[in-house]
Symmetry: C2
Subunit: 203 residues, 2 copies
Amino acid sequence: MSPPYKLSYFDIMGLGEPIRILLSYGGLDFEDFRVPRENWPNLKPSMPMGQMPVLEHNGKVAHQSMAICRYLAKQVKLTGKDDWEDLEIDAMADTVNDFRQKVGKYHYESDEKLKAEYEKLLFSEVAPFYLEKLDAQAKQNGGYLVGGRLTWADLVFVGLIDYMNFMAKKDLLATAPNLEKVKENVANVPNVKKYLETRPNKH
Amino acid sequence: MSPPYKLSYFDIMGLGEPIRILLSYGGLDFEDFRVPRENWPNLKPSMPMGQMPVLEHNGKVAHQSMAICRYLAKQVKLTGKDDWEDLEIDAMADTVNDFRQKVGKYHYESDEKLKAEYEKLLFSEVAPFYLEKLDAQAKQNGGYLVGGRLTWADLVFVGLIDYMNFMAKKDLLATAPNLEKVKENVANVPNVKKYLETRPNKH
């Protein structure tokens, strides 16, 4: 029998990694289908919005990484204690993603002149601002992003930070000890620890 | 007594409009606090991530527009019938927002040469692709985006489409009759109709 979940994504961490970590956290058996770049043009038209990650479950297909993470968080009980806390978690997940997009804007720019502009803006203003705000949030919540305990916002953060460090070509958490603590707290959950130790190490 | 909700945003539709429509739909009394551009630099440091929209409720403050919309959708019963349908709604909301961002990338570019490049890409590829996919989704769901009935994904779409048309300088729905139908279905809900007729008409 095939596993109940199938995740399709490129053979990198990227936007698939928070989903892989959530599935692993919950001990949910999944097929980690990694699409080689050369096969993507053929596969693209079959994906809901021509994008990955895509999650299949019970014969149904879903796209959009944060929507998938939120769904899985409900299955593995990593949501908030009430609607307002869910709002805070959602806001943190979207904020981490905004930050990820801004790092990506620099990383993926092919025009050298523009890239130099984006680099300057990213490292002089954008990254310090996000890191200060997020680190303060983690400090206030004792090494978690919301509610003083583990939620899926923490798993999203940890799922994306290695990818972000790779794109930024530096350790973004070097000056963010409380975010480093979030990373440790997630990495020390036995199911996650096991996954992190055995995952393909490809940004 | 002040209203139970306060929305802070610029004096435009923008990312605040889906929130205003959701509050109006539910008949939730709210202060529509519109910040003049010239006051923003003073106010910015007091906002959670230096951004708006921001929602205040019960002495608490929240940011991130889609997170706020999802919270309000729960209060006014516009969510899915189960976790998977919520995932589909979330994916649609994020997809509409991705599209909005791509239109914004063109609209907000100040470099004339880059803007011309973005314009070409947007109108020859990006917009037709999104509109075809979203229109097919609306067709399949009988004039709604998910589940064949009104959900908050429809309100997000209607809340953003005027802003997107303004940025695109054209009626994006001219070739998308089923999305036009979504717009009509939302606009015909009495509480929404009343709001749309009386709102400040500022993109």
